[in-house]
Symmetry: C2
Subunit: 347 residues, 2 copies
DNA sequence: CTGAAAGCGCTTACAG
DNA sequence: CTGAAAGCGCTTACAG
């Protein structure tokens, strides 16, 4: 049987109150007493029972994280980033996996975190007004990552600006016919990132007076296969794009493979820029807009710890982490388009 | 303030003992009483405080999972598989991330799971004898996945047999010069899977009387880049292999890319078979040996729940899940080797 | 600096 | 079928 605080007290010849104070390093414990307690604890191989401690203190020392699909790269990174700082601070992490719109509904209806966590990190999950109110009503601090509610502290990136950077990069290379491989067309969860990225893309095109025909805006479902299919559609156009911005690296890599298989050179015939700087982006030589993923989790965790310490949050912080273009080998300056070559050939 | 069991008792006009019984569906509660309790709980929006409940019951209702790098695909899948069944059974999951040999040491020395979990799932982490004894001494049931200790119940696959299948597939296609891209050469954690896979590979070659020169056994570090580098080494040989077995899909995909960039066709010049059936294997058309990854986590969780229910485990189960060859487009029948072509040209 | 006692919010024999 | 009381293993005023 594992030793309890009473066993330690008995062995050290003091009360359990003193053991508790000594072990936690509180002041007002005589050095010699503390020594005896520490030794007894050592000998008995004592560790405090967290369940009992939590009940007494009235805190769970666990943080709940709501994550859409924790099996996906992006989310595992965010979780890992948060987990690392929370573990250091002595907090456990309780994961809740939400998939689909009804999953979110179920989460907010049942609120499985009630009485279980001291704080909540919501990753990427857009919240309807009533859902936000429900969450706020819990009375436990909430920090969001990837979405900005205006009511909870948040950490995110500027998706529109990042998309602008990616698109401008293509424009600066001389590309004028630009396509977008976007995320999910009818997203039940209504993530905001894909929408914002499209906004940034469009903005540059409009600013430069370039065309933004529907046919150059195709969905890639945030997957390799989706990216490949999208690229197939684009290359089948009479006047295919010479520059493609994919809203995620996975789609970009799928697009690269499709391009290659269809005989289009990257970046010779078509330049591709992705988004994320996924672990594998470097290996594939993908030019992309890097976002700090683990760091978003880590910063969210720190903000939550701060809120926990401060008691009530003053004004909700809103941290926007920087993104940055990483130019690798999938983008290059523009070459004559197929149509231009055809025209030239005819002349 | 959230309602407590006392609030419910007061509102229902019964004792807290009765509330406790009614809410947990225990027998010996009058139907009308139960009705009143349920209604009161409903009105007060009561949920039981798990910390208090756990302390009273003497169980934590949480399972600890020790995972080498939970950010990697394989491990996230195992965790997700276990998590799904544990959540359904009302258990939380506490993750502990071990990286490097000292990380394992630290884990076993400090045993952060003491008094915190009711059971432990160890994923893929080989245990030294003393470490095994330490774990067993905890008195909480342990199930291992990916390693077989003979002392704890385990769920795993037959890595050697699976590798045999992969290698035989190449042999059956007529390949005689076969290479292995293995895992990590000096693995501080001493994972057994890569070793067993090599054993299976070797066994087939020996059985068929084929050569197994050192130069055809190269490390790929379980990464894309490592697989690519390994393939580069292999293709630089005077007499390069026509068939390559990579111990993971990631290495296989890296190898595919390297082959293509070096002008070798897959499977025209070199066939490649991987291991895992990673999420992306299908997209890349990779022939591979599929292992059930999520299922290993799920089965481990079920075994643990069984052990928890049974009290003491009888004889340690040892579940070996089936693997299966998935033939896609990276393997094909053998073509004349470069050397053979050279000889033919000279004749 | 230290201890006795109450309390955290449940569950569980035990008695009735 | 129900309730009073003890107990789970800690922490924390309070008194000394």
């Amino acid at each position: 049987m594992a030793a309890s605080i009473e066993d330690v007290a008995a062995r050290a010849g003091v009360s359990v109150a003193t053991v508790s104070r000594a072990l936690r390093g509180l002041p007002n414990v005589a050095p010699t007493t503390r020594g005896r307690v520490l030794e007894a604890a050592q000998v008995l191989d004592y560790v405090t029972n967290p369940t009992a401690s939590r009940l007494a203190v009235g805190r769970t020392f666990t943080i709940g994280m709501v994550v859409p699909l924790f099996t996906q790269w992006f989310f595992t990174q965010v979780v890992a980033g948060a987990e690392a700082v929370l573990a250091t601070a002595g907090y456990d992490v309780l994961l809740y996996n939400v998939s689909g719109a009804d999953g979110r509904r179920r989460f907010l209806d049942r609120m499985p975190f009630r009485k279980r966590v001291d704080g909540i990190i919501v990753v990427d999950l857009p919240l309807a007004e009533d859902e936000r109110v429900t969450l706020a009503g819990l009375g436990t601090p909430v920090v969001t990552v990837g979405l900005v509610t205006g009511h909870f502290p948040s950490v995110s990136i500027d998706n529109a600006a990042a998309a602008t950077t990616a698109t401008r990069h293509l424009v600066n290379l001389g590309h004028e016919r630009l396509a977008l491989i976007s995320g999910v067309p009818d997203d039940p969860l209504r993530f905001t990132a894909p929408v914002d990225r499209r906004t940034g893309w469009r903005q540059v095109l409009v600013e430069k007076g370039l065309d933004t025909p529907m046919e150059l805006d195709v969905p890639g479902h945030f997957s390799l296969a989706g990216g490949a299919e999208a690229m197939g559609q684009l290359l089948a156009l009479d006047d295919p794009p010479t520059g493609v911005f994919a809203e995620s690296d996975e789609m970009a890599i799928g697009a690269m493979k499709a391009a290659r298989e269809l005989g289009a050179r990257v970046p010779g015939d078509v330049s591709i820029v992705g988004f994320d700087d996924h672990d594998v982006a470097e290996f594939f030589g993908l030019t992309t807009v890097a976002q700090p993923v683990r760091q978003q989790g880590a910063v969210a965790a720190e903000m939550l710890l701060k809120a926990l310490a401060a008691g009530a949050a003053d004004t909700p912080d809103r941290v926007v982490l920087p993104t940055r273009l990483r130019v690798r080998s999938t983008t290059g300056s523009v070459r004559p388009s197929r149509r231009e070559r055809d025209l030239a050939a005819r002349a």
